[in-house]
Structure formats: C-alpha cells, structure tokens
C-alpha cells in the first residue's frame, strides 16, 4: 500500500454555486432502493429474483450473463418490489422495498480459515471462485466494467480527493469510518498493489484516469482497478463484520438546491424524499418557455458526467453526488454579441473572463455568473474549428482532438496508438465542457470504447 501525492497543473475548476454545507441528514430510513444494471458498463443482466421475493442485503438480484460469477447485490434486507423494464424489455431497475426487521442471511461470509485465497473478497479457486457482495464496487480500466476476477491488475487506484464541481469532500465522508477504510485497504492490497492518491491541482486531478496516467499508464492488454474511497470503507466493513452495508455520504449541491448539504444514504436509495425537500423552491421561478415538466434537472453524479434522474428516481450505482441544475431551455437575444459579464467561460471571450485577471481575487462575479449556470448548450453544434484549448484541460500524454477524431471515424488501430485504453468518457468531460463546437465528446469516447470492449470480449 502506498500513498502518492501528485500535482496536476492542467485543468479547470468550474465555479458552480450551491456548494454542499457540512452537516448531515440521515436518510437511511428511505423505503425503496434500486439496483440499476444500466449504470454498470458491460453488464448483461439476468434476473436472479422475481417480484415478491424476500431478499437480504448482499443477495444477488441480477447476475451477468457473460460471467455468471458477477452479480449486483441487494443493498438492503427487504422484498423485491418491482422490476422495471424499458424499450425492448431492457432491464432498467430492480426495486427493493426495505424490511424493518432484518432478514437472517442464509449465506453469510464463511470463516477466513476455509478460504484458500489470501483475499477475503474471493472465496474458492479458479472458475469456481465465489465473489463477495462488495466485488461489484471494484471497477476495471480500460472500459470501466466490473473488475474481472481472473484479471491481473497492475494496480488498484483509490482517489482521496474528488475535484468535480460540487463534489463531496472525501475526508469528510470518511470521518468515523477510518477503521473500515483501513480494513478495506488491506483487503484490496492483497489483490494487487494498492495506490492511494491524494492529488493537488484543478479538476480533473481527482479523476482516477488522471492519476493512472500520472502513475502507471495503461498499455494494451493491461488493466488497472479503481474503487471509490467510500466504497473501500464498505468493503472494509464487510471484511470486518461480514455485513454488507453499502452506505455513502452523498453531497447534494447546485444552484437550484434549497439547502445544499450532505445526506447519509444507502446505495441505490430512492431520491423522492430528497427532491421533495430540495426542489420546487417557490423562489425558483418556473421558466415560461420550458418544455420540461420540471425547470430543474436532477443529476446523479457530477454535473460534468453524471446521469439525469427523475425526481422519484434512484441514486446511481457508483455515485456519491447529486446536483440540481436549472434547465436552460430558453432563448437569449443576441447572446453571441453581448458583453457577457454574467457568463462563465474558460476562454476569455466574455467580459467576465476578460476582467477576471484584473479585478481583485475576492471580487464577486458569482451573483451574475450564477444566473447563467444552466443546462443550455450555449450555441449550436459545429465541426471542430479551434485547436489548442483541449490540451489545457487534459492532463494526459495524449493528443485529445486527434483521439476524438479517430473515434469519430472509427479507426481502431489509430485509437489504440493514440492511447484510447488510458481514458474513460469522464476524462473528456472538461474538453466537452469548454468545446465551442458543442460536440458530444463523452458519448463519442464511450461508443468507441464499447466497440473495443466488444471486440476484446468476443
């Protein structure tokens, strides 16, 4: 186990209002929980339960068709409440209703003595290996799938700082769980060399992709595992007690949130109680031209790469952050010509950016910039014209524009040469944010990685 301090210079901290305050509402009493297979890259779900079944925390709800050892466990003791399918009967959610009385587990973790492996996360050997319910928390790069138990990762990376806008403070979220975290680290270190990374510098310094690129870049055929810091504590708790309790401190923030602060939740929690309390602020005006049922977008995950969820939706599988951002579906008269004191831009093409370097550091633009933070695209989609700005927010030894273009044309050989295995869509989130061409870069990268992953597993 090793702790690294790395210093990243390239990047950008997007100044979003609504930073979560440091107090906690405990909402572990929420009733409904969902497991969302679609959040897990490369997971082909097969149901292991039926509606009405009684399940205990840690019991598989869905297994992976390709590798039946992989499964997504129920986060709580309870009853399978609903199985939600989407288009083409795609499995979207398995909803579990929590039971107040704990259900005795038929398959508690066996004693360490009967374990041939040196890690408590694996039981048994070879293809007969049984995975612990915390295994799905380990993710594998390239591709971002659940860690393959047969793989030999060259490192496991845990980031001790999240630099996303409005992200939770990792040290704060781990407070009181140090003991579990320590145990989790030891269990992971038994699998592969564990690297804890404490980065300095602007976003994306806290992204594991940035840290892998700085410490041990992934070559073709290699892999690295990553685990969220709070998930390490969940793993540790399981190792120490044999109880699967996937708890997280989730930071809720954003300009449309009433009272941004932290929530103590169990993974997959239903968000309706939170949105009821935080949303529908009478002071927050409903936009007159809105086409959306809500004037606020609820994002599970970072505003730069998270997923939109419904007000009664569920927390994303790996997310420890919720954001409420106003929808921006309204016109702006001659927006391209206005001085733009109220616009946030990485470029210095608006007055706010031009003055930024000249006014005193504590000058408060934010009253005005706040107004322009919304989900508006701020322009129309165009071909790539300008060059050189992606490199300023992309701390990899990779040519970002060239890699994106290789992904657009589908040249797999060139993608490999340019370093596709070292990146995930979230690593391109800032490129997408600052792009004046408004290209959907993250989905371009995701699609290219999916093609590669399917070729690799075929």
């Amino acid at each position: 186990m090793e702790t690294h301090h790395i210093n990243i210079k390239k990047g950008l901290d997007v100044p979003l209002p609504g930073i979560p305050e440091r107090h906690i509402t405990d909402l572990r009493s929420i009733d409904l929980y969902a497991v969302k297979p679609a959040d897990v890259v490369g997971f082909t779900p097969r149901l292991a339960v039926a509606e009405g079944d009684t399940v205990c925390a840690g019991q598989p709800l869905v297994t992976d068709k390709r590798d039946t050892r992989l499964y997504l466990p129920s986060p709580v003791d309870g009853v399978v409440h609903a199985i939600v399918r989407g288009e083409k009967r795609k499995l979207l959610e398995v909803v579990v209703k929590r039971n107040l009385a704990p259900i005795p587990s038929p398959s508690k973790r066996e004693e360490q003595t009967s374990n041939g492996n040196h890690s408590p996360l694996l039981e048994g050997e070879g293809s007969g290996v049984r995975l612990s319910p915390v295994w799905w928390l380990l993710r594998q790069r390239p591709f971002g799938t659940i860690a393959d138990p047969d793989a030999k990762p060259k490192a496991i990376i845990v980031s001790l700082r999240d630099t996303n806008p409005l992200a939770p403070d990792i040290d704060y979220t781990l407070k009181g769980r140090e003991h579990d975290f320590e145990a989790g680290c030891q269990a992971l270190d038994a699998l592969a060399p564990l690297h804890l990374v404490r980065p300095a510098g602007p976003h994306p310094a806290g992204n594991v992709g940035t840290q892998i690129a700085a410490l041990c870049p992934i070559n073709k055929g290699e892999c690295v595992w990553t685990v969220g810091a709070q998930d390490v504590a969940t793993i540790g708790h399981w190792v120490l007690t044999g109880h699967y309790r996937p708890e997280r401190l989730v930071a809720l923030g954003g300009p449309a949130a009433k009272a941004p602060h932290y929530y103590r939740l169990t993974a997959g929690a239903c968000l309706s109680r939170i949105t009821e309390a935080q949303l529908l602020d009478p002071n927050y005006p409903q936009l007159p031209t809105t086409n959306h049922p809500l004037s606020t977008r609820i994002i599970s995950g970072s505003p730069l790469s998270g997923t939109t969820v419904a007000p009664d939706g569920f927390l994303g599988m790996y997310d420890h952050q919720l954001c409420l951002i106003p929808e921006g579906d309204h016109y702006e008269f001659m927006g391209w010509l206005m001085p733009g004191l109220n616009k946030f831009s990485f470029s210095r093409t608006f007055l706010s950016g031009m003055l930024h370097d000249f006014l005193p550091k504590n000058f408060n633009f934010q009253f005005s910039i706040f107004n322009s933070i919304n989900t508006n695209l701020h322009g129309s989609v165009r071909p790539f014209l300008f060059t050189g700005s992606f490199e300023r927010v992309f701390p990899f030894d990779i040519y970002p524009l060239q890699l994106i273009k290789a992904c657009i044309v589908g040249d797999i050989e060139l993608q490999e040469q340019l370093g596709i295995y070292e990146v995930e869509p979230e690593d391109f989130a800032l490129c997408e944010f600052i792009d004046p061409s408004k290209t959907e870069i993250q989905s371009i990268i995701r699609n290219a990685l999916e093609v590669l992953r399917k070729e690799a597993t075929a």
């Binding site: 391209w336 831009s345 014209l385 060059t387 030894d397 990779i398 060239q402 989905s443």
Partner: protein, 404 residues
C-alpha cells in the same frame, strides 16, 4: 430588453411542410437573433458559454482597427498622390469617408457572393450555416488592392468558397486558408491587377483606375538603393501604415491592436504568431550575414513592417483550421512560414511579396508536421507497452512523459 415578440415571430414563421427545405436559412437567421434554447442531452450537463459565433465575432472585432485605418489610408493615398483627384473637401474624416465608400462595394460583394454560396451549400446538404465566412468575407477585401474590379472580387470569392472550402465539406474541413485562396486566385488569374506600381492607389472615388504608387517591396525588388528606399519610406510611416499597399495590411499598429485582442481572448495561437516573427527574423539575420545587395542587407525588422507580413502572421497564419493543430507543430509551422516568406521576398525575383505563398505552402504541409509530431507520441506509447513492467512510473518517467 423584452424580445418576447421577436421570439414569437420567429416561432410563427418557422418553415414547415412544403417550406421545410428552407430550414438552414431560417436556422441561420434565428440563431443570429437568439442563442438557441437547446439543452444538453448527453455527457456534460453544463457547458461553457463560448460557441462558434462568439469565437468568430472576436476575429471580426480584431479586424476592425486595421479595417478602419485601411479605409482612412485609401483616402490619404489618393489625396497625397494627387489632391485634385480627391472628390471631397480635405479633412481627416473625409479621407476616411473616401476610403469607406471605396471599400464598401468590395466588402458587400464579398459577403453577398460568399454568404450566398454558403447558404446554398448549407441548404443543399441540410446543414446549418457555418459562421466561418463572417471572418473570411471581411478578410478577402482587406488583402486585395483597392482598385480590384468588383467582378474579379466576385469570381475570387466564389472560387475560394467553392474550391477552397465547400468541396472539402465546408468550414473546418478545408486545408487551405480560404481568404488566401481568393487572393492567390486573383494573383495568378489577373496578375496585372494585382502587382506592379499602378494598382495600390485609387485614382478617384469610382472605377478601377489607379495612380502610380510603389510599395516598399516594389521599390526594393526593383533593386533600388537603400538611401532611395529610406527617402520614400521611414520606419514610422511603415509602423503607422501611411504607405501604399493592399487595403488594410499597411498599419502594423492597427494590426497589433487586433493581435492583442486575439491573443488575450485566446482565439489565436500565440505560438504561431510568435514563431512566424521568429522565423522571419532569423531568416532576415541569415541574409544579413550573407549580405551584398540592398535587400540582403536590409535590417530584419523591416520585413515585419513591409507588405503583408504582420497581417499574415496575425490573421492568416493563425487560422486554426489550416494551421498545424499540435502545439509542437504550431511552432514548426510558424517558424517555416516566417522563414519562407522572407526567403521568397529576397530571393525570388518574380513576386515582390512572399507571405501569401508561404502561408499557403505551409497550409499544405501542416498535416505532415502534425503527423510527425503525433508519431513521436505514438512511438513513445508503443515503447512503453513493450517495456511495461506493471510498476508505477518513476519521477523521471513522469517528467519525460509530461515534457514530450
């Protein structure tokens, strides 16, 4: 400002049904009036406020000092060549007004022909109209002699837009700077209208007649002595721009104002701009070391002040589409543009000016430069894969990767 009525008007006239083929034109005007209300669908939920329109409009604003001065200089050149040809009462403003009236038809023809073709192509392809031509269409009249006939202007713009850009797929897909394609077209198709001493100064308010008025490079390439040159052009004249030349390229100070805006906003690459001057300066010094003729002995900084060097370095070489796209590539690209421009000026007896051809040449070579730069990155990655040991990189490895 409440523009609700205009929003509603646009929504009312949105072409539907049998008129829906007009979508591109409608979209162009609609997005001109209003930043669209489209919201993010995938990926990053929030986006930077900058877009293509904003970026291009910064270029147009950066051109304005050179444009305004160029207009004034047109009047000034005509007046100082022969005051009797000057149609107005003499005043600073009337000098500018004269130039404004001369430039207006050129600019109008450029925009009407160019945008007409752009709209037609966008309609035909079902694309949105790209903003790129807003800058190109202003650049073209700024780099031609004031006496250029309008029909030639129209032909050159059409050639530049169709052959220089649209055949490759429109803005962002072209490999040659469209404004320079227009100028090169004129230069080779109508050489008598584009070079020599009798094109730079308008004889009167209308028509394409010209009065003799030599440019600095015209004087130098005719083999004149340095003392003759100095008697005609002082450094201050060339810096301010009160000399004959293409309409808006003469004032280094006005161009510098534009350069400051482009560099400050980050729209143009400082690497390219700086390296063009570096390349030109180094080549000038090299020629000084050889010496022998007036041109070889000319102090290197004269090259920055004469002709289109400064204008080309600031507004043409920095076109991001046709320049090298990697940071290392930009240095090489700029250095070679500067060096070739001075080389062509001094060593080539056929053309007095070398900037246009130098930039067009390097436009062609930019992809090759990028290819070489990126190959180094690929080689480094391949090498790393072979020696891959599974260990974390050492501090030196990391430093090397960072620098490379």
């Amino acid at each position: 400002m409440n523009m609700k009525w205009l929003e509603q008007w646009f929504e009312k006239i949105e072409p539907k049904g049998r008129w829906s083929w007009l979508g591109s034109t409608y979209e162009a005007f609609h997005t001109f009036a209003f930043t669209p209300k489209a919201v993010t669908r995938t990926g990053s939920h929030i986006r930077d406020a900058v877009d293509m329109k904003r970026s291009i409009i910064i270029v147009v604003i950066a051109l304005i000092p050179a444009l305004l001065f160029g207009m004034w200089n047109i009047g000034y050149q005509t007046y100082s060549a022969d005051p009797s040809n000057f149609n107005f009462q003499f005043s600073i403003f009337n000098l500018w007004w004269f130039g404004f009236l001369r430039m207006l038809p050129l600019i109008a023809v450029s925009y009407i022909v160019g945008l007409g073709i752009e709209f037609a192509f966008a309609q035909y392809r079902g694309h949105e109209v790209n903003e790129g031509f807003l800058a190109t269409g202003l650049l073209i009249p700024m780099i031609v002699p004031v006496t250029t006939p309008l029909w030639q202007m129209a032909l050159a713009v059409a050639f530049a837009v169709v052959i220089g850009k649209e055949v490759f797929g429109g803005s962002g897909m072209n490999f040659l700077n469209p404004a320079l394609v227009a100028r090169a077209f004129l230069f080779f198709a109508y050489p008598t209208h584009m070079s020599g001493d009798k094109v730079w100064v308008a004889a009167d308010l209308w028509g394409s007649d010209a009065i003799a008025g030599a440019t600095p490079m015209g004087v130098l390439s005719s083999g004149a002595d340095i003392s003759i040159f100095n008697s005609q052009f002082s450094i201050l004249d060339m810096l301010i721009g009160t000399i004959p030349g293409s309409t808006c390229e003469t004032s280094v100070i006005a161009i510098a104002l534009g350069a400051i805006l482009l560099l400050f906003t980050g729209i143009a690459s400082w690497r390219i701009m700086l390296s063009v001057f570096l390349g030109g300066g180094l080549m000038g010094l090299l020629f000084n070391a050889i010496g022998g003729t007036t041109y070889l002995d000319l102090p290197f900084y004269y090259h920055f002040l004469m002709g289109g060097f400064a204008f080309g370095a600031v507004f043409m070489a920095t076109d991001p589409v046709t320049a090298a796209q990697t940071n290392t590539g930009k240095w090489i690209y700029g250095l070679l543009i500067g060096a070739f421009a001075v080389l062509l000026r001094v060593a080539n007896p056929a053309y007095p000016e070398g900037m246009m051809l130098s930039i067009l040449l390097m436009n062609c070579l930019a992809p090759l430069i990028d290819h070489c730069v990126i190959s180094r990155n690929i080689k480094r990655r391949t090498k790393r894969a072979y020696v891959g040991t599974g260990r974390a990189l050492s501090a030196e490895d990391r430093k090397e990767a960072h620098n490379g």
